[in-house]
């Protein structure tokens, strides 16, 4: 009974939007002497939050036999990030939206490109995943703004999800952390389609033998696909996408970066006593002071 139901149900279509970002791993990241990122010397890779979004999509692949498509806006070299995300998610379809007209876009201008791009993916998309935010200064706005433009229900900080294919609804758990309050896990239910920005603490759980077998099968498939990722890759420029050129890139961006400056060094709030860390006698005195600090304040 179950299987006939399953077969008659239309398939789940998942999209992931990802971003190429500076690689912050040691050896690849380069900092200027003043502590700022040296972008020219730093390599690029699939952003870590994008990778988590790809893992969440792969969960849908394993659990619901979903079809996965990935989209990104970026320069031609961003195809590397698509390949990395394909390796994680076993995506069938890779979209790169690349045009000089898109350059300099803020989140609203980027969301417009992604909205149009997602509309060009095969099948009607049921769930879009995005990372929580980018690591290099993007703001976590692109996901929700894309969701809004698509008219999809937006679910933020999702830590786990399950889909009911029969009723086309999703149940998701969200992690809400607010200033000065204990964290809250909220469980919600919503009809598809939804747009999910995935929480950094998201983890996929494969509990049964059949799930683990499916996991292995699709992982193997993903490796083969990623080895030939160009077969799945479609590159769109502005014209091919058919975007309204006044809504993307700089013209479609309300905000601009006006200036970048060093944060001024705060004036010294304490006067440090400098001691030599190799001198046990001085270390002894420091520990005595630490002890004093702790005991003094307990008394109040």
């Amino acid at each position: 009974m179950e299987t006939t139901f399953h077969e008659s149900m239309s398939k789940l279509n998942i999209a992931v939007i990802i971003k190429l970002e500076p690689d912050f791993s040691e050896g690849n990241v380069s900092y200027n002497p003043d502590g700022t990122l040296n972008r020219a010397e730093t390599k690029n890779t699939l952003g870590p939050h994008s990778a988590i979004a790809a893992h969440a999509a792969f969960f849908g692949r394993v659990m619901y036999d979903a079809k996965v498509s990935i989209g990104t806006m970026g320069p031609p070299i961003a195809d590397v990030a698509l390949q990395q995300a394909q390796q994680i998610s076993d995506a069938e379809e890779l979209h790169l939206y690349s045009d000089r007209l898109f350059a300099g876009a803020d989140t609203l201008g980027t969301a417009e490109v992604l909205r149009v791009g997602i509309g060009k993916m095969q099948g009607r998309i049921d769930i879009v995943f995005s990372g929580h935010r980018a690591s290099d200064g993007e703001t976590g706005q692109t996901g929700p703004q894309t969701a809004w433009k698509l008219g999809f229900t937006f679910l933020g900080n999702v830590i786990s999800y399950a889909v009911d294919l029969k009723t086309r609804t999703i149940r998701a758990r969200r992690l809400i952390s607010l200033q000065g309050l204990p964290n809250v896990i909220e469980e919600i239910e919503a009809p598809l389609p939804v747009f999910i920005s995935i929480d950094p603490t998201y983890k996929s759980n494969y509990n049964t033998v059949s799930q683990r077998l499916a996991f292995q099968k699709y992982q193997k498939e993903a490796t083969q696909r990623a080895a030939n990722f160009k077969d799945a890759l479609k590159i769109f420029n502005a014209k091919e996408l058919g975007v309204d050129e006044t809504l993307v890139g700089l013209p479609g961006s309300p905000t601009i970066v006006y200036k970048v400056e060093r944060v001024p060094k705060s004036t010294a709030t304490r006067r440090a006593e400098v001691i030599d860390g190799s001198d046990p006698e001085q270390i002894r005195k420091v520990v005595a002071k630490m002890k004093e600090a702790l005991s003094a304040m307990v008394i109040k």
Partner: protein, 394 residues
């Protein structure tokens, strides 16, 4: 000249009948900005608090006492829990409601269309709500801001002005620290005055980092207008059902410990053993372990167990993480980016371990132990064992 945009709207967050501190901090900063604005431009624009929820009339009134000139509130059972879609719709309705604008200032009824500026909190709720609201309003948003200035800005910009020199009056300069904490990016939201694609972009909006600005003392002598807004609620916008809410305890506790030991990129020469050293030090001091923001980007290959325990956003001390006022704060291999300093500067006694005497952390500590953490921490552990074991038993 008639102005289409006036006032600063602040979107308030509250939970269980209490304001989140950031809401009052935003009101405090808005008050300061608008007071300066009104004296600079001989104007009379207002700080307007916007609050949504259920049974919130009494709460609304308090916002006047915290510094708002007016409060617009929407009270409806469907607004009890924050759900992105319906909240976005109602906030957007309020931002475009000329009726409430005319109640705030009857003399401007004809001209004003929208708020000039808008503030949201940069937290789990406000970050997404601000994004969707500004997508709905089709205007600009800067996120995670920690400094605000209002200026007249003269500029020529190829896209914004078509290369012509233009003055953008009353522009909100929104300062955003980057991930390293060493750079400040100023973001502006500007109308397109380029004849090729003219478009108005208002309100100029941002989300504000909690804990940065000062709230004002509650003052019952402050007066202001309380305006009820009746939202239009479309059942289509109520598709999300909240099934349950559970409080969970974070594994990381920065509120109760007397001592915090933090580490930064100074662990880099030998990450895994150094993290274990920090663990030992923290154990001797009965301390919670904190990290700097760059560490949460997982820059080192270490064992999965240590990675998922320590290199996580939940442990970050700083503007984009936790603020602490621990009695004792030990910063090992921490450079001292301002974003980290903001999180730990209220600590009692601060000890820094760093080989570089030029590191900014030196200005923020009471004792600066010059040396590599690999060398210093073991000495510290030995000495603590000698001196502190007795106090442990009370």
């Amino acid at each position: 000249m008639a102005e289409k945009y006036r006032h600063l709207y602040v979107v308030i967050e509250h939970e269980d009948g209490k304001f989140l501190p950031v809401s009052l901090e935003m009101i405090g900063e808005a008050r300061r900005l608008i007071d300066d604005f009104n004296s600079k431009y001989s104007s009379n624009e207002k700080v307007v608090a916007v609050i949504l929820g259920h049974n919130i009339h009494d709460l609304s009134k308090q916002l006047i006492e915290y510094g708002a000139d007016a409060v617009i509130y929407a009270d409806n059972p469907e607004l009890k829990d924050v759900r992105n879609t319906i909240h976005t719709k109602v906030i957007s309705q309020i931002a475009q409601d000329t009726k409430s604008l005319s109640e705030i200032e009857p003399e401007y009824t004809q001209d004003v269309k929208r708020p000039r500026y808008m503030f949201f909190a940069a937290d789990s709720i406000g970050r997404h709500l601000s994004s969707t609201t500004l997508a709905e309003l089709e205007s600009g948003l800067a996120s995670d801001i920690n400094k605000l200035v209002i200026e007249d800005i003269e500029m020529s910009h190829q896209q914004k002005t078509g290369g012509a020199k233009e003055t953008y009056g009353k522009t909100l300069e929104m300062y955003r620290p980057d991930f390293s904490g060493f750079l400040w990016t100023t973001i502006l939201c500007l109308d397109n005055r380029n004849p090729a694609f003219r478009r108005d972009y208002h309100p100029q909006s941002c989300s504000i980092i909690p804990g940065v600005f000062e709230s004002l003392k509650q003052d019952s002598s402050r007066k202001g207008k309380i305006i009820e807004f009746t939202p239009t609620i479309d059942p289509q916008d109520l598709k999300v059902r909240v099934l349950s809410r559970h409080i969970i305890k974070s594994e990381v506790d920065f509120d109760t410990p007397r001592t915090i030991v933090s580490f930064g990129r100074g662990i880099k020469d030998d990450p895994e053993p150094n993290i274990k050293l920090i663990e030992n030090l923290a154990k001797e001091l009965d301390a919670e372990i904190g990290i700097t923001l760059p560490i949460s980007k997982k820059p080192y290959q270490i064992s999965q167990a240590l990675d998922s325990k320590y290199m996580i956003p939940d442990r970050v001390i700083g503007t984009s993480g936790h603020k602490t006022s621990a009695m004792l704060y030990v910063a090992a291999g921490v450079g001292g980016a301002s974003q980290h300093i903001m999180g730990m500067k209220d600590s009692g006694f601060v000890v820094a371990i760093n080989p570089d005497e030029e590191a900014p952390i030196k200005n923020e500590c009471d004792v600066f132990i010059k040396g590599r953490m690999e060398d210093v921490v073991p000495l510290l552990i030995d000495e603590i064992k000698k001196q502190m074991q007795i106090t442990e038993v009370q």
